[in-house]
């Protein structure tokens, strides 16, 4: 009888040991997901802030009920406001006798069937952009223009899976907007050489 009890006790303790996996001192979580869920229930926020790492002007954005900031854009565009030059309708500004402008921009964004300058730029008011249906879009909110086609990327960006953070990880959140990383006229990233080559590793693998 006593031996049986001993065996039961032994197996019980074995079971207990097996369940211990994944635990850290004083906590009883089996997986990291359990731990995150349990410990974030009473989340009170953090005392650190990334305010002091945020440089430049930002504007607040609320999309899909998530609020964050993006860098202000208009002041960063060298030739803004457009109406400083575009005083006449476009037709009257073309041809000889006019200084050529925007010669450095070659549109490499989708094909000509899909995109041309006026798909995004408003001919009647060059100081703003326009949606596919002709609704005005502010230069500071150009992500609304991109999101018309790139809906998937937009959703990821709002959530935080696409794009880069400004400031730090701590709140408040500042996210780079589309045009901070992608040239809207040529959005693809260039291929280039890696920043680093480890010659020592080559030496060691010989």
């Amino acid at each position: 009888m006593k031996g049986k009890a001993c065996y039961t006790l032994f197996f019980a303790s074995l079971l207990l040991c097996a369940c211990k996996r994944g635990r850290t001192k004083g906590e009883k979580y089996r997986t990291i997901i359990d731990k995150i869920q349990a410990r974030s229930k009473n989340y009170h926020g953090v005392s650190i802030s990334s305010d002091r790492y945020i440089t430049g002007q930002t504007i607040a954005v609320t999309e899909n009920s998530r609020t964050f900031s993006i860098p202000e854009r208009k002041s960063q565009i060298t030739s803004y406001a457009c109406t400083a030059c575009h005083t006449k309708p476009l037709k009257e500004m073309q041809g000889k006798g006019f200084k050529s402008a925007h010669w450095d921009i070659k549109l490499q964004h989708a094909d000509s069937q899909t995109m041309r300058c006026t798909t995004c730029h408003d001919m009647t008011n060059p100081d703003r952009l326009k949606s596919l249906t002709g609704e005005p879009i502010d230069f500071n909110r150009s992500y609304r223009l991109c999101s018309q086609c790139h809906a998937k990327q937009f959703e990821d960006w709002v959530g935080g899976a696409h794009g880069k953070r400004g400031g730090g990880w701590a709140p408040p959140r500042v996210s780079m907007t589309c045009v901070n990383c992608h040239n809207p006229h040529k959005p693809r990233f260039e291929s280039r050489w890696p920043a680093r080559y480890n010659t020592q590793k080559v030496e060691e693998s010989k």
């Binding site: 995150i36 953090v46 998937k152 899976a161 696409h162 990880w169 780079m176 291929s191 590793k201």
Partner: protein
């Protein structure tokens, strides 16, 4: 309460007090009572520092060993301190050297002791090079658990992260140590590390290849911590797995235990040109290491505990790296975990890494 205050005041290692009366007040008490009255409120005595080494029962043989070691150190110290020719700087150096040699494990230190060792290290660097560094001993914030996500679809293999990491963390330039490895893998073969190349040098991204990065994953069930015979590595409350470089004995058990090749060893004295040293440091992070100790990625503890992103996250031009607080339900890292199809490396090992991979 009184007990913890007492503990902060109490010195746990022996010092020679070469500077004069400054340290005389070791028996003084902040509670206003007599020392005897204070004793009543004191918590059970912990062994730290000097006592960790000497206040243990030991055999004749080990006692002799320790005595010899300390005699050798002491002789050197006495030689410097009692010398008439040795300057004030040399004496201070010797004092710092003594205090540093007999300090305790960082894990067991009180905040005051942490501040003291950091102060000593800053002063030692000043005496050695004439330059002033900033070293932090900032503890983990409550309600913070750091996590990392890596977008495999977005990494293009530029290795800007690796370059930034080396600079930020004062890694040995001579052996070209790097915490991060970017693996170039063939499309359609999955994670095949046998055929992957982590030291490519050609225009990237190469056709038919994808890129993924590995570094320390700061496991929630870290095997490296379990095997350390001297508890020189541990997990902090904010989830960072850290190393006390001054407590590490260089046995490299942790290196063998890590299933992700996350740990690096200093086979030689790390060399960082003085002008390239990142002077914004943390005790558990990028402070200068010595020969024969382990080191690894700390999620840039000197940056992350101050609210910044790790250097690799900031350096990545494609936004493939996401870092944040796993406990904040509104953080971007949480959104990634809840909305993307995430997975981790070798999940079946039960190491519970806090480093997730995902694709677009």
């Amino acid at each position: 309460m009184i007990g913890s205050e007492m503990r902060n005041k109490r010195k746990k290692w022996f010092s020679l007090n070469l500077k004069g009366s400054e340290n005389q007040k070791t028996n003084a008490c902040s509670c206003g009572r007599t020392p005897a009255g204070c004793q009543a409120g004191e918590t059970p005595k912990r062994n730290d520092g000097f006592e960790q080494v000497f206040d243990v029962k030991m055999g004749r043989r080990s006692a002799f060993k320790k005595l010899t070691a300390s005699l050798l150190t002491g002789a050197g110290l006495v030689n410097t301190t009692c010398s008439v020719t040795a300057g004030k700087g040399a004496k201070e150096k010797a004092q710092i050297g003594w205090d540093e040699l007999f300090k305790g494990n960082y894990k067991l230190m009180t905040d005051a002791e942490k501040e003291a060792t950091v102060k000593r290290l800053v002063r030692a660097y000043q005496l050695r090079t004439g330059k002033t560094i900033h070293m932090s001993a900032k503890n983990a914030e409550s309600d913070v658990l750091f996590g990392y996500a890596f977008n495999i679809s977005k990494c293009r293999g530029y290795m800007d992260c690796v370059a930034a990491c080396v600079k930020e963390n004062n890694q040995d330039r001579k052996s070209q140590m790097q915490y991060i490895r970017i693996h170039e893998m063939k499309d359609g073969k999955g994670f095949n590390f046998n055929e992957a190349d982590d030291n490519y040098y050609h225009e990237v991204p190469a056709a038919g290849h994808f890129y993924m990065g590995t570094q320390c994953f700061h496991c929630d069930n870290p095997p490296c911590v379990k095997v350390c015979p001297v508890q020189a590595t541990w997990q902090e409350p904010d989830g960072l797995v850290v190393i006390d470089y001054d407590w590490c004995i260089g046995c490299r058990y942790c290196m063998a235990a890590c299933p992700y090749d996350g740990r690096r060893f200093n086979w030689s004295k790390p060399e960082v040109p003085e002008e390239a040293v990142n002077k914004n440091q943390h005790y558990l992070g990028n402070r200068l290491r010595k020969k024969g100790v382990m080191e690894k990625c700390t999620f840039c503890i000197q940056r992350s505990r101050a609210g910044k992103n790790p250097a690799c996250v900031d350096a990545c031009p494609t936004g493939a790296r996401v870092f944040g607080n796993l406990l904040d339900p509104n953080s971007t890292i949480r959104w990634v975990l809840e909305n993307k199809k995430v997975f981790r490396l070798k999940e079946d090992l039960g190491t519970e890494p806090k480093f997730w991979y995902y694709t677009d």
